[in-house]
């Protein structure tokens, strides 16, 4: 067996690859310009990684059941705007309100998927459009500044542990929770079963409709937390400002984190590394010295290379 095929046969690859890729990237950045790895650099990188991570975690749970949620970034932006608008009046209560609202929005996505035959791609594309419009209408196409009670949320951004803001640690906490959910609970096992083989799951009397609703509800909930991290960082929310372009980085982070797009293979802890890697790419590009114009190209090439590395080659003959 050639070295390449031996590498392909190593079945633990998809578990180990995401952290390895991230470390490799850190080494590359460090070699070119070690300033980027200092406390300030780490702080900036993880701050930008935080909303990506939260969106990616929600997405990875949906990917786990074999679906995709194209609307989760829009949900989180909508949530950020709602939060920014209601925070002055209701304080912490508004956070609870927004989280509940977004979880319900996610559950509605899931319910549509469970009870109609519309594929998740098409369904969430529609929801995406609806929520983007809603965000514009509710915000009046303006930036909403949090006039009062701002400290309640910005503290998450300004408090740091190991130079890393709490918004990122929040993401790590969610990742660990979701990991435990998938490995150690019945509902988690059911979600993975649906992703691996939905027909088999149905005929084993698993509550597949509930599983779908639950996965999308989780996506909505984490989207709400992503919205929180956006408001924490910017002190405001805008339909075109910070956090308005989270969809693709979120998906990329999930994939770089070893999540299978066909379902049944998700490791939320690796998604943390995926998000860090994705957040670091622009930094690495700068450190290496590529021009700003080539950023998209390098980003694209890089994502393809990384996903190829982290997608296990032993998963089977069919990769979507």
């Amino acid at each position: 067996m050639s070295l390449l095929s031996k590498i392909g046969q190593f079945s633990g690859w998809h578990t180990v690859a995401p952290p390895l890729v991230f470390i490799a990237m850190l080494l590359v950045v460090g070699t070119f310009n070690s300033n980027y790895l200092g406390p300030l650099g780490v702080s900036i990188a993880t701050a930008s990684a935080a909303p990506i991570l939260l969106v990616a975690l929600g997405q990875s749970m949906v990917l786990n059941i074999g679906s995709i949620d194209l609307s989760n970034a829009a949900i989180s932006l909508f949530g950020a705007i709602m939060l920014a608008m209601t925070l002055p009046q209701y304080g912490i209560g508004s956070l609870v309100l927004v989280l509940v609202l977004l979880t319900i929005l996610g559950a509605i996505n899931g319910a549509f998927l469970a009870f109609t035959h519309v594929p998740s791609f098409a369904l969430t594309l529609g929801t995406l459009g609806i929520l983007q419009t809603a965000a514009l209408v509710v915000s009046g196409s303006e930036t909403i500044y949090v006039s009062e009670n701002r400290e309640l949320v910005t503290i998450l951004y300004r408090s740091k542990v190991l130079s890393i803001p709490l918004t990122f640690w929040l993401g790590v906490g969610v990742a660990v929770t979701y990991w435990a959910l998938l490995r150690l609970t019945v509902i988690g096992q059911h979600m993975t079963a649906v992703g691996k083989n939905e027909s088999g799951a149905i005929l084993s009397a698993l509550p597949t409709k509930f599983v779908k609703i639950f996965a999308f509800a989780l996506s909505g909930f984490t989207g709400g937390l992503a919205g929180l991290s956006i408001v924490a960082q910017a002190g405001s929310a805008s339909a075109s400002g910070l956090g308005s372009a989270l969809l693709l980085p979120g998906i990329a982070a999930a994939l770089v984190g070893g999540t299978s797009i066909s379902g049944g293979l998700t490791n939320p802890i690796n998604v943390v590394f995926g998000a860090l890697t994705v957040a670091f790419v622009p930094i690495a590009i700068q450190a290496i010295g590529f021009s700003a114009q080539s950023q998209s190209l390098v980003y694209g090439v890089f994502i393809i290379a990384v996903v190829t590395l982290t997608t296990t080659l032993t998963r089977g003959l069919v990769i979507k």
Partner: protein, 509 residues
Amino acid sequence: MKNDNPIVLKLTNICRFFGSVKAVNGISMEIRRGEVIGLTGENGAGKSTLLKILAGIERPDSGTMEINGKRANFRSPNDALKAGVGVVHQEQSLFTNLSVAENIEQQNQMQTGMSRLGFQDWKRINEDASEVLKKIGVKLDPKARVGELSFVDRQMVEIARAVCVEPGGDGTPLIILDEPTAVLEQAEVEVMEREIRKLKEFASVIFVSHRLDEVLRICDRVLVMRSGMLTRDTSTQGITKEELFRAMVDDTPTLNTHKRSPVRPGSVPAVELRNLTMEGRFKDVSFSAYPGKITALVGTNGSGRGALMRAIFGAEKFTSGSIHLDGKLVTKWSIGKAVASGLAYVPAERKVEGMIGGFSGTRNITLVHRGDSAWGQILRPRRMAKTAQSWFDRLDVNPNNIRQPLNQFSGGNQQKVVLAKWLNSPSLKVLMLDHPLRGLDVGVSQTVNAELRKACENGTAVILIPDTIEEALEMADEILVLRDGEISARHDLSASNDLAIKEIVAEMV
């Protein structure tokens, strides 16, 4: 028996090792033109590897192969095709989005080329396909899309494709049929036999099967493999099934048929159907399945048995009629309710519906009935493992590794795990199995059947769609014959043991 026909295939000491595993260990044999050779042996005996060598998918490590007198050194399946070897595999390899003719033409293209200036010659493709189909006696529209055909019809297309090989010159084609009857019903098996007899006129056939009755009936000679070697190579005249068994396994298994007692009057059926109807599939089906009894549903493909079983399980909706469990009418039936009421269903399509391939044996077994494997929502890995291990030991699953993903096991062992999943129920009232022994070797089949009998002793009602009528006669207390969706006959085996298979086939068609 004509012994002076030219030799089509000659193998001398063929070996293929995978590391320390001697999959094929010194096989030597000869096949002459017009011979039908049966190849049998347990799963893992080396049959598939030998077939792969003949088909050009694998290359032997040592030994020589001669086809039609010429040394053969296949480097790819294409080489095998050109030499005149056509294989019909057990797992279908058709292109489901193309038509029947296109699939048949696939094979031909490598031989004669069906295109003029690069364009497809549709008229000729369809005509040639019709000819081949006629030759093998199959009524199919060459323009039909393969994906819309039933499993059986697709099997026929596979055979048509394999028959298209032309070795050129006066070489004889060698057609290899890998378990062709595994998914065929009785009437279709007879069609298959007719075809093989037709094939004898211009080709030689290797017929791989677990069904010893068929092998003895259809083949001129039979070869038995065990652990990579040939243990018998003999004419089928005068040899018995028991002798074949002995050549296949190390110990002589017993074919037992248990004594049947009639149902006690006044006992409540575990499940009773009254005039159950599903539009387009079955009509007015009424019967009762009693605890501790096995009911077999026999019929041809399309007779509605599979749909009937799924309706009882709640997987498909029925149009009218009623289902009664333990005497009580069920309403708004669903799979969840069925399973909670003690029903179980082992589907025919094991890989797609019966199991979660990517999950370990442990997770598969504890998937439906958790028992003490979980505290509410929290899984208890050690209890799960204990449960799984005890089932693996009881059913002798090989390899005995409860953590290995189930898709890495052989079909027979997968089936054992699927069965364990349902036997793991605290109260199993009705166990339904659709073609449970399909593709399984003798040893595994006996383990499965023994478990079914044990379940009966524990009071479970078993409803079974068997692969063969012999299976039904061996296992069932009652046989129901379905034809075109309706029950055409009932046989209570506690009353009479003299049932002719031909009689049942007549009730099926």
